[in-house]
């Protein structure tokens, strides 16, 4: 019995040691939500790839630091920064006013558009985002698109609450569009195009109606050292054309 207790405690210690070793400070822990091709997603080896992923690794190189990527639910990223679980976030995140109150944002590295996804055979035609109010709507938990839908459609009564579904991952939401469980999905345009290709869906609308701000990298409030270093790196990448090259590589709008 004593042997077993020692073995169990030993495992506990070992586990603790293994993770303690990884928190050296020349590694920046970057949170993301890897369900958003072409910005961040996983390849068939399970590695993190995409525009944002390559960008942050390029930024890390410029800063001379290692980058460690952690995949979390999109809605937990800001909280992760606030609690200093992670040092930075790159996740196609818009620097909205509300978010700015909780975390600090770098300069914009990409201006975005939104899109509405629908089934290819659904016959859904939209002229404005308001048009989705008549359908079963999905978006991702914690996103600007979700907030827009809540403020402009649900709270005003245009969209009944039971017709709105909040998904943790957009790739699962896209699969549900295909399966007919929801009618429309409101997300950022580039992932929408990528998901449309993968799932045989169509883009019913591309718009900037619900866009709040450009995409930036977020850091914990007050971490000016990291923020300045990141901003410098972004400027450098803009200047030497790497940023544009990446945007072309991933065919961003």
């Amino acid at each position: 019995m004593k042997v077993m207790t020692f073995v169990l405690c030993g495992m506990l210690m070992l586990g603790l040691c293994l993770t303690g070793a990884a928190s050296a400070k020349d590694t920046i822990v970057v949170g993301t939500s890897a369900d958003y091709p072409p910005y961040e997603y996983t390849d068939d080896k399970g590695d993190f790839v995409g525009f944002d992923m390559e960008l942050i690794r390029a930024i890390g190189e410029k800063m001379g630091k290692k980058i460690k990527i952690v995949d979390m639910g999109f809605d937990t990223l800001i909280a992760g920064l606030q609690n200093e679980k992670i040092d930075a976030v790159i996740a196609a995140m818009q620097a909205s006013e509300e978010r700015k109150q909780k975390v600090d944002f770098s300069i914009t590295y990409h201006e975005i558009k939104d899109a509405i996804l629908a089934r290819a055979d659904s016959g859904i035609e939209l002229k404005s985002v308001y048009g989705i109010a008549g359908y079963k709507v999905a978006s991702q938990t914690g996103t600007i698109q979700e907030k827009w839908i809540q403020d402009n459609l649900i709270k005003t009564g245009k969209l009944p609450e039971e017709n709105y579904f909040s998904y943790e991952r957009v790739d699962n939401a896209a699969m549900d569009i295909k399966a007919g469980r929801v009618d429309v999905l409101h997300i950022i345009a580039d992932p929408a195009i990528s998901l449309a290709e993968k799932n045989d869906l169509k883009i019913a609308l591309i718009t900037t109606e619900a866009v709040s701000a450009g995409q930036s990298i977020a850091v914990t409030k007050g971490n000016t050292e990291l923020l300045d270093a990141i901003n410098k790196a972004i400027e450098a990448l803009k200047a030497d054309g790497t940023l544009q090259a990446l945007m072309d590589k991933y065919k961003l709008l």
Binding site: F74, D75, A79, Q82, A138, G142, Q150, E168, N172
Partner: protein
């Protein structure tokens, strides 16, 4: 502390909406589990040898894999072979089948706890096996199973929490939306924990009262989880 209460006041209506869904799921899953579990347990105890591997396979699958995996297979996996359930249906089916496996074992324990002599006596006075089960063994077994079944009921309230991952608008789903829109994860989840605490506490009290009135003292098939 006051800001917690202010936040709670703001968040409660949404959370309570989600709680209603949670309770619906709990009730539905238990009923489905009962419909599956009771017959299955009878098959296990009284059925022919041929049926046993089927029962064991069902139990192995539903008790040997996490509830989460089962949910994803049913909701995301099955459409690939053309079987597509709505999210509520998938939730009911998965939770129900899962509960059925555990309820089967609880019923089996209770049935086997009824002394063999009861069945012998029933056959002895000319009852068929079926009549013996229906009139003699089952009524006793159902009384014996009450503690274990009450545990299952209370536990089910907690297991429904995972359906937020398939965007069912239950308590957890509402909590996630609130916590991310308001950047307040700890407050939100503490509130959620409190709601579950109240639900479970209330149900425990009620069931304890019923147990005291109906159950046979002494047998407790114990609590299992997922």
């Amino acid at each position: 502390m006051t800001e917690f209460f202010a936040y709670a006041a703001m968040a409660l209506p949404d959370l309570l909406q989600g709680t209603v869904v949670t309770l619906k799921l709990t009730a539905g899953a238990l009923v489905i589990g009962l419909v599956i579990g009771l017959p299955l347990s009878l098959l296990r105890v009284y059925g022919r040898k041929l049926v046993q591997p089927v029962c064991t396979a069902y139990l192995t699958v539903f008790r040997g894999t996490p509830l989460l995996v089962q949910l994803f297979v049913v909701y995301y996996g099955l459409p690939e072979i053309g079987v597509s359930f709505s999210r509520m249906a998938a939730a009911f089916i998965t939770l129900g089948c899962n509960s059925g496996a555990y309820q089967c074992e609880y019923f089996r324990g209770a049935i086997q706890a009824v002394s063999k002599g009861q069945m012998t006596a029933a056959r002895g006075i000319g009852m068929s096996r079926f009549q013996g089960i229906r009139h003699i063994v089952l009524p006793q077994a159902l009384r014996l199973v009450i503690p274990a079944w009450s545990n299952e009921l209370i536990a089910m309230v907690k297991y429904t929490a995972i359906v937020f991952l398939i965007a069912v608008p239950d308590l957890m789903n509402k909590a996630k939306i609130l916590s991310s829109q308001n950047f307040a994860p700890i407050q939100t989840y503490v509130l959620v924990a409190l709601i579950y605490l109240v639900l479970v506490g209330f149900l425990s009290l009620v069931l304890h009262g019923i147990q005291r009135k109906l159950a046979v003292p002494g047998l407790d098939a114990g609590m299992e989880g997922r």
